[in-house]
C-alpha cells in the first residue's frame, strides 16, 4: 500500500522539462551548466512526494532524519554514497583526498568527464542530480584519527570505505573506542565470482563488517565493478536497516 496522500504525484509538467535534450551541434551530449540544471530540478515538495510514494511516509521520515558519513569515495564509497542519496538520507558527509583517474572507471561511480577532478566534487555533482535536497557536506582531506572527530561529529553511522587496510583498522578502532556511533566496514572484495560469499556480519555492538573477509588484491585478482558493487550495496543496505531500527535485518 502506498502511503501517499491519495492525490498521486503529477509529473506531467516536470516530464516536459526533463525531456529537453542536452546536445551540442555535433550531436554529442554535454554536461548541463548549473543554470540549465536548476531549471530542470523538480521542486522540493514534488521530490518529497515521489520519495514517499516509493518508500512510505514513515520510512522517508526516518531516512530524512538520519546523518551518515562515508569515509573514502573509491569503489566502495562512491557507490555507497549513490545508494544512500537515492534512499534520501537527510545528511550525507562524504570525504576523500584523491582525484578521479582513468583507472578508477572500472569500478568507481564516476564518468570520463570527472577525470582529474576531486572525488568529493565529482561525487557531489552526481549526487545532486540524484537528490538535490539532501544536506551534503564534503571534506576534501586525508582522513585520520586527528580529524575523524570533527568530520563525523554529526553522523550517527559511519561507512568505512577505504582501500588501505591500515586506514580501515584505524577508523574502526577510533569509532569503537571514542564514540557511540556505529561503523559499517568492508574487507575482502577483490576478484570476480563467489559473490554469494560476500556477507554482512555483526562483529559486535556498533560494528558491522561486509565482505568475504579473505579476497585480497594480488596478481590475477584485481578490484572489479560487480564484486565491489555487491559489497558497497551490502554496506548501504546495512545502513538503511540500522536507520529503520531493524537490526536483525542488518546482518542477515
Amino acid at each position: 500500500m502506498l502511503a501517499d496522500n491519495g492525490k498521486g504525484v503529477d509529473f506531467a509538467d516536470k516530464n516536459k522539462i526533463l525531456e529537453q535534450k542536452d546536445e551540442t551541434p555535433d550531436g554529442t551530449n554535454r554536461v548541463p551548466d548549473n543554470e540549465t540544471l536548476e531549471n530542470k530540478i523538480p521542486e522540493r515538495e514534488l521530490f518529497k512526494r515521489a520519495m514517499i510514494e516509493r518508500h512510505s511516509a514513515k520510512m522517508h521520515e526516518k531516512l530524512q532524519n538520519a546523518s551518515v558519513g562515508v569515509a573514502g569515495l573509491g569503489g566502495l564509497g562512491s557507490n555507497v554514497a549513490m545508494a544512500l542519496a537515492r534512499a534520501g538520507i537527510g545528511s550525507l558527509v562524504i570525504c576523500d583526498f584523491d582525484h578521479v583517474e582513468l583507472t578508477n572507471l572500472n569500478r568507481q561511480n564516476y564518468y570520463i568527464r570527472h577525470i582529474g577532478h576531486k572525488k568529493t566534487s565529482a561525487t557531489l555533482e552526481i549526487l545532486k542530480q540524484i537528490n538535490p535536497y539532501i544536506n551534503y557536506r564534503i571534506h576534501d582531506l586525508y582522513l585520520n584519527s586527528s580529524n575523524y572527530g570533527k568530520v563525523f561529529k554529526d553522523c550517527d553511522i559511519i561507512v568505512e570505505a577505504f582501500d588501505n587496510p591500515e586506514c580501515k583498522a584505524e577508523l574502526v578502532n577510533w569509532v569503537l573506542l571514542n564514540t557511540d556511533k556505529t561503523v559499517v566496514a568492508a574487507s575482502g572484495l577483490a576478484g570476480y565470482g563467489f559473490s554469494n560469499k560476500i556477507t554482512t556480519k555483526k562483529i559486535r555492538e556498533r560494528f558491522y563488517l561486509v565482505g568475504d573477509l579473505v579476497s585480497s588484491v594480488r596478481e590475477g585478482q584485481t578490484l572489479m565493478a560487480p564484486r565491489v558493487g555487491v559489497a558497497a550495496n551490502h554496506q548501504a543496505d546495512c545502513v538503511i536497516s540500522l536507520i529503520m531500527n531493524q537490526e536483525e535485518r542488518a546482518s542477515c
Binding site: G72, G74, G75, L76, G77, A161, F162, D163, N164, P165, E166, K168, A169, E170, V172, N173, L176, L177, A185, A186, S187, G188, L189, A190, I203, R204, F207, L209, G211, L213, V214, S215, S216, V217, L223, V228
Partner: protein, 63 residues
Amino acid sequence: MIINGIKQEVDDKNITDLLKTLNLSEDMVVVEVNGHIVEKALYQTFQLEQSHVVEIVSFIGGG
C-alpha cells in the same frame, strides 16, 4: 584461550606477541578481549590470560 570462537593453546603473554604468532599486523586489526576493544597503544602491555575470550578482525585491502 578462545580466539575467534576456537579454543587454542597459545602461551603468548600480550597482544603484540599473539598477533605475531598469528602472523597478523597490529596496524590492520581490531582486537577485542572479553568484550572490550583494546587500543593499539596497549597491545604490548595488555596481559593475556588463558581464560580470555579474544576476537580479532584483520582487514584486507581493497575498496
